[in-house]
Each structure stands twice: as structure tokens, then as C-alpha cells.
């Protein structure tokens, strides 16, 4: 929330740890403390979910200005604020809102003792699982225990045994001994994805989290509960025991599973991706992403990945080096003129790659340029029915009016022998209805893929490209937001980032060379296309910028905004 947006009327003065700050009326105490750089430890509070106030970790000392009797003037301190009367008992900072003149102490003896007490209670039955717990290293129980805990246990009795290693869904394992009963997972499932499967049963120290006996946690957003679980009670089967979190490098990127373009963090170590999790962007995906998109990275590990450029000799492909492959592709493609040549690009390409395809098309002058349409099932949350992540980019950069509409006529003209050469980038044509007969009748088929497929098998020149986490670039999502894709790992073997391949092809065809890095491509593109005017690759930033108005809205964000306006959540 930006304070300057509100008029002076709506601001209140709050004292946090002896400093006065102004925050909008209705701000939660915990958020006010955050703005004053006084982080209040918490478990159950999550800004995107309602606040049941059940963990008591956020207890702070609170005080109010006295209510003067009629005619009496309040006593003022040196700053002109009314003197605060401190309350003898603590309050939770997560569910209470501030009022004018309120005082909050996060570091007083009372607040510290409260935290220490809550930590001690939480650890009474907690197992000594850190060495085998995937959460270790990013566990708030570990962190707060070091910061606010006692360092040793006074508990001599036997710990309560609870269910461990329980399959509660196809992708998630539950360990009840580690659960701190914060109910974040319960609220997420109920409030955000309308799948109320979780609940607490039993009482006191025997309370456990469980799923409905006849149901499983299997909605397509289930893995978000693993992210918001502050401890290692919910762990992902996919990530389970694969890598300790402190070894991973985190790269801010995008999911390219559909046109939503959810912001992500990709965790990798030594050239291998281990997990992908959502990154908060309140204009795109809130703080969530779907499970399907999360698992997308596995396609990069496909054993059929193409790793070397190849040229077809007779019936067989042989591997060649890049200059030879590019030279051959350029020589073959330039033999054909106008109507004889077609280019089929992809809605999975970045704007930069599409732009280089466009300049290539300007030199080669093909009869048609199109991309492949990729319709799928969407839902009422984030997942979009357009499974191409950058159709809007293709519309703007490659001037595709109606994606996929020309594929039929391309096929027809191949059969009629009017089209003799085809450049295919990132698509398997057999998968889009082309027949092997049609492709084999071409005199020249140049294609670029990341995974071996029938089209690559029929191609005269095969150029191995990079997967979405192996390259940089920008994309425009369904709501018209320009966002940046980042490189987490290197493409395998000799394969290259697609913009480099296209740039080399351009150079081999037209001889021009004004580009040394990806940012130059964007700059060139920004000088040609009005939609990118004034932007550069770095100016897109981590959260992206709106460049188009597509008229689309995100159902999940709309519901979130409604809950914010009702005061249910902070947002």
C-alpha cells in the first residue's frame, strides 16, 4: 500500500518501537511494523489469507492514548503526540488494525517473553527431524527458534506421536509431527481454490491436521500449500529429498505453461533444476501458480533432448558444428523465393526471437508466416486456455492476426508443390496435423527444436534450441503484460539460446550485424515497434510492465481484490 495515495485524512500516526510513522487507516498492526522495518515473527498470518490469529507468535505490546475527560487536554510528549498508556497484556499484531496514536512495542521484555514462550510450546512435541526435513534452511520454526527460542528443552516427558509420511494427495506428503497447526493450508484450500479438504481433528497436544477421509488433496493448485506451510509438514513428492535448499541458486523467471505467465523462482544447482515455485506479482498471479506449470521444468530433462546441430545426408543425420549448420540452412533457404517458402514459428518463442524471425522474413520474403495454435483447458483461477505463453507477442511482433489460421493452406500448397521450403521454429508439425508425406515432399525443411520429434527427423537441417529456463527474453501474457524470462541453467551440449540461432541465420542471410547481446535485440525491436517504445530489457524489471489492453481479467485476482475491499485479507 502506498501511503501517498491516501489523503491526509486517511492516515493515522502509529508509534512503532519509539518511532512515529504514518500508515493508512485500517492497516494491520503487523503490516505497520513491517513498514517501520520492525519484522514481527508470525506463522499463521499470510497477507493473502484471512487471519484467524491462532499461532500467537505475533504477540506484541500495545498502548493507546488516554481518553481525556471533557475539558481536559491530553498530556503531550516532546513530538506533540499524546502520551501512550501501555496495556499490561500483549495483543496479536496480525488480526488487529491500527488506530491513531497507537503505540506498538516489538522489542519490549513482554513481547520477547511471549515469543520465547510460544516457541517453547511449539517445540515441546516437535520432532528432531531437521536433518531429514526438506524445509530445513527455509523453515521459520528453525529461524525463530534460533532468534527467539531458548536453545534447550525443559520438557522431560515423551513427545506425542502423530502420523508421519502420509500421502494426502498425488503430489504431497504430510508429516503431522512437524505441523504447527497454523491452518494456512486449510485456509488456502478453502478460500483461494475452493477445495475445502483440510481440517484439524482431536484436541490439545493431540490435534492433528488431516484431509477429509473420502477425499484427497489433488486440485491443480495443491503445491501452493507446500510453499506457504511455514514448516516441513507439507512437502512436495517431486522435490522430496532431491536437494537441500541452501545449495540452490534462485533465478527469477516466468512459467511458460500458459498465457498467464505466472512469475516464478527457479531453483537450480550445477546445471540442474530442482524446483520451481511462484513469485508474488499482484498484477499477474498473486502469490500462486498451478501444479501443471510447476512441473513443466521436467521437459528440459527429457532424454531425447537435441544437443548437436545436424544435417541430413541421404537418410541419416550427421552432427556438424554450428557454422556449417547455419551456412547450410541459409544457403538452402535463400534458394527459394516468395511463395515457395513458408515460416512456421511458435507462440512459445520470446519477443526477441519473434523479432529476429520477422527480420529474417523481411530478407527471405516468404509467402506465409504463421504460428501454431495451442488451445487447452483453462480454469477459473490462473490456468489459461491458451497454452501458448506469448501469443500476444506473436500478434504484435510477427503481425499474426489469427494464430494457426494459415496452417491448412500451407499444407494444401505443399501438396500442390507450390511451397517447396519450410522453416519451422520450435513446433512439431506432425503433431499439428501435417503428414510425413507432405513434409517429405519438401525440398528444404529447416527446423529448430529442443526435443527430438518426427519433424526434426524429417528435417534437412536441425538446429537444437534452448528450453524456457535456459534462455532469456521477454513475453507478453494474456492480460497484455510484458514480462521477462531469465536463464537459470545452460542449454545442454551444443544447443544454443534460440535468439542466437536466429541471429546467426539472419547474419548468414543478410550479412548485417549490429547485435552483440540479447538486450540489443530488444532495443532494436523497441525502435521499430511502438508498443515497446521507451522500454529496454532491463527496464521491464522483475514484475513486468503493462503494454497492451487486452480487456481480459484474472478471475483469481478479482476475487482477491474483493476480499481485500471487504477487509478480510491484506492482499
Amino acid at each position: 500500500m502506498v501511503a501517498s495515495k491516501d489523503s491526509g485524512e486517511n492516515l493515522v500516526s502509529v508509534q512503532v518501537d519509539d518511532h512515529w510513522i504514518s500508515v493508512p487507516r485500517g492497516t494491520r498492526m503487523i503490516e505497520a511494523c513491517k513498514q517501520a522495518a520492525a519484522e514481527v515473527p508470525h506463522y499463521c498470518y499470510h497477507p493473502k489469507l484471512t487471519s484467524p490469529g491462532n499461532c500467537r507468535m505475533c504477540l506484541v505490546e500495545m498502548g493507546m492514548p488516554p481518553r481525556p475527560s471533557p475539558g481536559e487536554e491530553p498530556e503531550l510528549d516532546a513530538d506533540g503526540h499524546a502520551k501512550i498508556n501501555w496495556m499490561p497484556r500483549p495483543v496479536i499484531a496480525c488480526a488487529n488494525t491500527v488506530v491513531d496514536g497507537m503505540g506498538i512495542r516489538t522489542q519490549s521484555l513482554l513481547a520477547k517473553e511471549c515469543r520465547q514462550g510460544v516457541m517453547e510450546f511449539l517445540l515441546i512435541n516437535h520432532p528432531l527431524d531437521c536433518p531429514i526435513c526438506d524445509q530445513a534452511g527455509e523453515c521459520t520454526l528453525q529461524e525463530y527458534s534460533v532468534e527467539h527460542g531458548n536453545g534447550q528443552s525443559r520438557f522431560l516427558e515423551s513427545k506425542v506421536k502423530k502420523p508421519k509420511n502420509v500421502e494426502i494427495g498425488p503430489r504431497i506428503r504430510l508429516d503431522d509431527e512437524r505441523c504447527v497447526l497454523c491452518s494456512r493450508c486449510v485456509r488456502f484450500s478453502k478460500e483461494v481454490v475452493d477445495d475445502d479438504v483440510f481440517g484439524f481433528v482431536d484436541r490439545g497436544s493431540h490435534s492433528v491436521l488431516t484431509v477429509h477421509p473420502d477425499r484427497k488433496l489433488e486440485n491443480n493448485y495443491s503445491l501452493n500449500t507446500v510453499d506457504i506451510c511455514p514448516v516441513g509438514a507439507l512437502t512436495s513428492n517431486d522435490f522430496r529429498f532431491k536437494m537441500r535448499v541452501w545449495f540452490m541458486r534462485e533465478t527469477k523467471s516466468l512459467c511458460t505453461g500458459c498465457a498467464r505467465g505466472c512469475n516464478t523462482v527457479v531453483g537450480s544447482r550445477e546445471g540442474k533444476i530442482y524446483r520451481q515455485s511462484p513469485r508474488e506479482n499482484n498484477d499477474v498471479n498473486s502469490a500462486w501458480m498451478c501444479d501443471t506449470g510447476r512441473m513443466e521444468y521436467h521437459q528440459l530433462e527429457n532424454p531425447a533432448r537435441l544437443t548437436e546441430p545436424m544435417i541430413k545426408r541421404g537418410k541419416k543425420h550427421r552432427t556438424v558444428d554450428w557454422p556449417e549448420a547455419i551456412c547450410r540452412a541459409a544457403r538452402d533457404l535463400t534458394k527459394f523465393k516468395g511463395e515457395q517458402l513458408a515460416i512456421i514459428a511458435s507462440g512459445r518463442m520470446t519477443n526477441e526471437e519473434l523479432y529476429l524471425t520477422r527480420t529474417l522474413a523481411e530478407s527471405l520474403q516468404p509467402g506465409v508466416v504463421d504460428i501454431v495454435k495451442r488451445e487447452g483447458e483453462g480454469d477459473d483461477y490462473l490456468s489459461h486456455c491458451d497454452k501458448n505463453p506469448n501469443v500476444n507477442g506473436a500478434r504484435k511482433v510477427l503481425k499474426i492476426r489469427s494464430p494457426g489460421s494459415k496452417l491448412k493452406s500451407i499444407r494444401k500448397r505443399i501438396v500442390e508443390d507450390k511451397i517447396k521450403a519450410l522453416l519451422v521454429i520450435g513446433e512439431d508439425l506432425i503433431d499439428c496435423g501435417f503428414t510425413e508425406g507432405e513434409l517429405s515432399s519438401l525440398q528444404c525443411l529447416v527446423s529448430s527444436h529442443i526435443i527430438a520429434n518426427p519433424t526434426a527427423k524429417m528435417s534437412h537441417v536441425v538446429l537444437p534450441g534452448a528450453g524456457y529456463a535456459e534462455k532469456r527474453g521477454s513475453m507478453i501474457n494474456a492480460t497484455g503484460r510484458l514480462q521477462r524470462l531469465n536463464k537459470a541453467i545452460d542449454p545442454p551440449g551444443q544447443s544454443r539460446e534460440d535468439w542466437e540461432i536466429l541471429h546467426e541465420l539472419n547474419r548468414a542471410v543478410d550479412g548485417c550485424d549490429g547485435v552483440t547481446e540479447l538486450a540489443d535485440v530488444f532495443t532494436q525491436m523497441a525502435s521499430t515497434l511502438s508498443i515497446f517504445k521507451g522500454l529496454s530489457l532491463s527496464r521491464i524489471g522483475d514484475l513486468g510492465v503493462d503494454v497492451m489492453d487486452t480487456g481480459e481479467t484474472v478471475p483469481l485476482l478479482e476475487r482477491e481484490a474483493r476480499r481485500v475491499s471487504e477487509g478480510l485479507i491484506v492482499g
Binding site: P131, K159, K161, K164, R240, F241, R244
Partner: protein, 176 residues
């Protein structure tokens, strides 16, 4: 604050080194004579004979993995030693203990555990960091091999060197 160390004043005899050289020669000659007269042994037929019995308790030799009193491998593959190891000698790939295994409740164990003994500097950090008391520096110091591969100790070799250690950690007892 700087500490000023005074240079010692040397006598003329000390300055010309000659007396010191003579002193050294006398000791060497003394040993030689005593060995020739078979009065004393100052060398050892290494490697047939070894000095091992005299190694101090705190001696740090090759790091090795140990099993517990039930022959359970103690290491749970937490990878803390891999993290702490200064020369990055340790490589671990964890795996899940399959259902039905006697120690299924431990959940996790190393599938691969390699220590590259060309890299290891015998610092003992791995032993110190291990939360499960699973890795110890043993008294083996003569680690040889004719190829780089041979110098990598795998899980089997590590348990061979390490053997069994009882007690220490009892968190995986019947209460768990």
C-alpha cells in the same frame, strides 16, 4: 597495537654458524655409531612396520561413515558435511528409504556418498557438523591409488573404514 620484538644480540661464535654445524654433526655421528654398535633403533621398516599405536587419540585420518548398534547406516543424507567441507570433497545423492524397509521411519539415506581423498584436507569439519554422528575421522592416513577414480572413496569403502559405533544418538529409538 604493534608489538616490537627486539632482535637478539648474537655472539661472534653464533654469527659464524660454525659451532652450530659442528653440534649437528656430532648428534648425527652419535646416532650412526650407536646404530652400528646395535645399541639403538631410530628408523622403522615402513610400511611393514608402522607407528600407528603411537598415534594420539585426537589424530585426524581419513573421514569414514559408521553404522550404529543395529547396523543401521547412521547417515541420513542431510548434506551438511557436503556443505561445510572446505575443499568440496564430499558428494552426496540422497534417496528415500523404500516402504517395507526395517528403517523406513528414518525416511532418508544416501544413495551415493563419495569423498574425494585427493581433495580432502583432513580438517574434520564433516565430523564436527554431522547432526547424526555418522562421519568420523579415523586413523587411516596411508590413502593411495594409481588413478583419480581410485582415490574417491564410495559408500562401501567408507563403511569399511568406518565400521560400527555404538550409542551416541538415540533419537531413532522405539519411541520415534
Amino acid at each position: 597495537m604493534p608489538i616490537v620484538v627486539q632482535r637478539p644480540r648474537l655472539t661472534i661464535a653464533e654469527k659464524c654458524y660454525f659451532p652450530a654445524i659442528m653440534k649437528g654433526l656430532r648428534i648425527t655421528l652419535g646416532h650412526a655409531i650407536r646404530i652400528l654398535l646395535r645399541k639403538k633403533k631410530v628408523t622403522m621398516q615402513y610400511p611393514e612396520a608402522k607407528w600407528d599405536d603411537h598415534l594420539p587419540e585426537h589424530y585426524r585420518g581419513a573421514p569414514a561413515l559408521v553404522t550404529d548398534e543395529h547396523d543401521r547406516e547412521r547417515c541420513v543424507s542431510c548434506q551438511l558435511c557436503e556443505f561445510i567441507c572446505p575443499p568440496r570433497a564430499i558428494t552426496i545423492i540422497p534417496e528415500e528409504i523404500p516402504a517395507g524397509d526395517e528403517w523406513q521411519k528414518v525416511e532418508k539415506r544416501p544413495k551415493i556418498f563419495d569423498i574425494d581423498m585427493i581433495r580432502c584436507i583432513y580438517c574434520g569439519m564433516c565430523e564436527e557438523v554431522c547432526p547424526e554422528q555418522a562421519i568420523f575421522l579415523r586413523k587411516d592416513y596411508a590413502i593411495t591409488g594409481v588413478s583419480r577414480e581410485e582415490m574417491v572413496h564410495d559408500k562401501k569403502k567408507l563403511y569399511e573404514i568406518g565400521g560400527r559405533r555404538e550409542g551416541l544418538v538415540n533419537k531413532w529409538n522405539e519411541l520415534k
